[in-house]
């Protein structure tokens, strides 16, 4: 895709674990985020979605091995030194994570932290940074931002803290925002507020968002496109509308079916039998094969990524006959 603010190509991340083994946490992921676009990255625990976010942010566990390309505005982030990464983090690329309390320093006022986020990357006076921070706190919906500027984080509710984190993250108009489960720790009525805020601000500023979540409901509510991850790989991606209306990969279908909200009447929920494969020794073929209702002999070979006429992609042999391979 041209014009993508973030382009991930064939990204692989291996993380060392005790016993001299490696977890192939991300295995050949290709993904793009356009300007002002929100792309959902959805999957269950251990699927590699947060590791992928960490790889983009340059925040991986020590000793991790990364291959492939991560292009930010067409510039490869791989190979940046720690110092170079520090310079772009919080400037061109920013992070909002699940727990706002751990993103904020408890000993500094919320306003000072937003102002610091600005002065870390911009040559502006203290006064100008302060004024901009007050403005940003207002934009993210902190009531009476000038009065609350000097309050420490513990004087704020979880939802209000997350608003402060968003203010700091968007302070320098980043090209890309990685939002890793940004509303998972929040109550549902507060979650709705924060999702609206994120969407509003990033669409307006043209920031591309990679929204990492386990919640398909959140994806349906705010994302433009979505990639579904399973066991380190993207098994399907497409527009939110297409993917929810017509999920192609059996895992996507199973995940949608097991949502209680999708089954308003009683009766058993469909379940996915078995367990996620051990990623220190992943199976050779399709990683979902052992749990798949449509498993077939050819699933012993890893499926190709197949491009669909609507622009979506799916990594499953079931769709091979329909269209041709992308690669």
């Amino acid at each position: 895709m041209t014009g993508a603010v973030l382009q991930i190509e064939d990204l692989r991340v291996r993380i060392p674990v005790p016993g001299g083994r490696w977890v192939g946490a991300v295995d050949g992921v290709t993904l793009a985020v356009g300007s002002g676009e929100i792309v959902g990255l959805v999957g269950e625990s251990g699927c590699g979605k947060s590791t992928l976010g960490g790889a983009v942010m340059g925040l991986l566990p020590g000793g991790s091995e990364v291959s492939g390309r991560v292009l930010l505005d067409e510039e490869d982030l791989r190979g940046l030194t720690d110092e170079q990464y520090r310079r772009i983090r919080g400037d061109d690329i920013a992070l909002v994570s699940q727990d706002p309390a751990s993103s904020l320093d408890p000993t500094f006022s919320v306003g000072a932290q937003v102002a610091e986020a600005i002065r870390n990357h911009r040559d502006v006076s203290r006064r100008a940074a302060r004024e901009r921070a007050v403005e940003l706190l207002g934009i993210v919906g902190i009531p009476d931002p000038r009065a609350r500027y000097a309050d420490p984080p513990h004087r704020f509710s979880g939802g209000m803290k997350q608003r402060v984190v968003i203010a700091a993250a968007l302070a320098n108009d980043p090209a890309v925002l990685i939002a890793d489960e940004p509303t998972t720790a929040l109550d549902v009525t507060i979650q709705a507020q924060i999702l609206h805020l994120l969407r509003d601000l990033t669409v307006r500023s043209g920031t591309g968002v990679l929204l990492i979540t386990h919640d398909l409901g959140v994806v349906a509510q705010v994302c433009d496109r979505v990639a579904v991850m399973y066991a380190g790989q993207v098994v399907e991606q497409g527009t939110v509308r297409d993917l929810f209306a017509r999920p192609l990969h059996p895992y996507t279908r199973a995940l949608l079916d097991s949502q209680p909200a999708a089954h308003h009447r009683s009766g058993d929920l469909p379940v996915i039998p078995g367990r996620v494969p051990d990623l220190t020794e992943p199976p050779a073929g399709c990683r979902f094969a052992s749990r798949c209702a449509h498993v077939h002999d050819r699933c012993a070979t890893a499926p190709p990524v197949i491009g669909m006429p609507n622009g979506g992609q799916v990594a499953c042999w079931l769709h091979q006959a329909v269209t041709e391979e992308v690669r």
Partner: protein, 332 residues
């Protein structure tokens, strides 16, 4: 038929964590009534500070209320001690969110389940060994799981062990506090199916506490919605979800991110923050955020009033706005 569990006028406060000399108190429950019928699943849903977990702890006898009563099968359990308390605890068993916290990491799964049998003196020693295997089978674990330690199990398997331990004493009521909140959605589905199966086959009643309306809708016969220490609405499941009356219930339902891109929220259903239970609003506790607010809402504390026989709501304004064609019978 009388209810298995009947909670009346429950009030719980505790010292605020950082109150110091100011003696501020957290108003966790402010006069809660709740009934759970035999063999029924009653969903209790609410956000942070709603008091749903405190209510669960009162029913389990883990929290003594300041005021009010908890009647289980005709017996007041508030203030029970000794043998009588032990007997009630046998009949009301907990399932918690994090089974790791309730299972001893040094014990095998078999020993943890066996401990529940021993503690309540269920059957003879030989019976108990057989019973451990039966219980594991009942929750969908194989006999060889009995020799494993909790650390060697997945989250879903651990929750199955937690449920097996809860079932060991053959309780009549299970109080499940966020039992699937820590689980992935595909595993969550397995545990919800298990709870439904046990409920059908064993006839055990369940008080199912959750912040997740989708989950509550799926498992419950009746549902109560809590906000800041009080129940604002209670109804049969289908009625609550099809015809929510309280403005908070309506906002809560609207705020659920449904996995349907065509049902996107166009505006935020509820603005403002959840007030602190340390200094809750006067009158109706929802009034500062309520779209239906009138002057009296800040003064008068609404009580649950019938919409229909099985549907009660604590909002005179919403009730008054409904068509009067089918007046509900008065109930006091």
């Amino acid at each position: 038929m009388t209810a298995l569990l009947d909670v009346r006028g429950l009030v719980v406060t505790f010292p605020a964590p950082d109150a110091g000399l100011r003696r501020r108190r957290v108003h966790a429950l402010s006069g809660v009534d709740l009934s759970v019928g035999r063999g029924r699943t009653h969903g209790l849903v609410g956000e942070s500070g709603s008091g749903k977990s405190t209510l669960a702890r009162c029913v389990l006898g883990l929290q003594r209320p300041d005021e009010g009563s908890v009647v289980f099968d005709g017996t007041e359990i508030v203030g029970l001690r000794g043998r009588a308390l032990r007997e009630v605890r046998r009949r009301i068993q907990p399932v918690f969110q994090d089974p790791l916290g309730s299972l001893d990491p040094r014990w095998t799964v078999g020993r943890s389940v066996r401990e529940s049998l021993d503690a309540f003196g269920v059957g003879s020693a030989l019976d108990r060994d057989r019973r451990v295997r039966e219980l594991l089978d009942l929750v969908g674990l194989s006999p060889d799981h009995a020799d494993r330690h909790p650390a060697a199990l997945s989250g879903g398997q651990r929750q199955r062990v937690g449920i097996a331990a809860a079932l060991a004493s053959e309780p009549e009521l299970i109080v499940a506090d966020e039992p699937v909140s820590a689980l992935d959605v595909s595993v969550q589905a397995q545990i919800l199916n298990l709870v439904a199966k046990l409920q059908r086959e064993l006839g055990v009643a369940v008080l199912f506490v959750s912040h997740d309306l989708g989950v509550v809708e799926h498992v419950s016969h009746e549902v109560s919605v809590m906000y800041l220490g009080g129940i604002v609405e209670t109804a049969a499941r289908a009625e609550l979800f099809a015809d929510p009356v309280h403005p908070y219930t309506r906002a809560l339902l609207a705020a659920i991110p449904v996995p349907e891109p065509d049902a996107r929220l166009v505006h935020v259903p509820l603005s403002g923050d959840i007030p602190s239970p340390i200094n809750p609003p006067t009158g109706c506790r929802f009034h500062p955020r309520c779209p239906l607010r009138v002057d009296s809402c800040s003064r008068e504390r609404p009580v649950l009033q019938p919409v229909t026989a099985a549907h009660h709501v604590a909002c005179p304004v919403a009730l008054g706005a409904r068509p009067q064609s089918d007046p509900a019978p008065a109930q006091n």
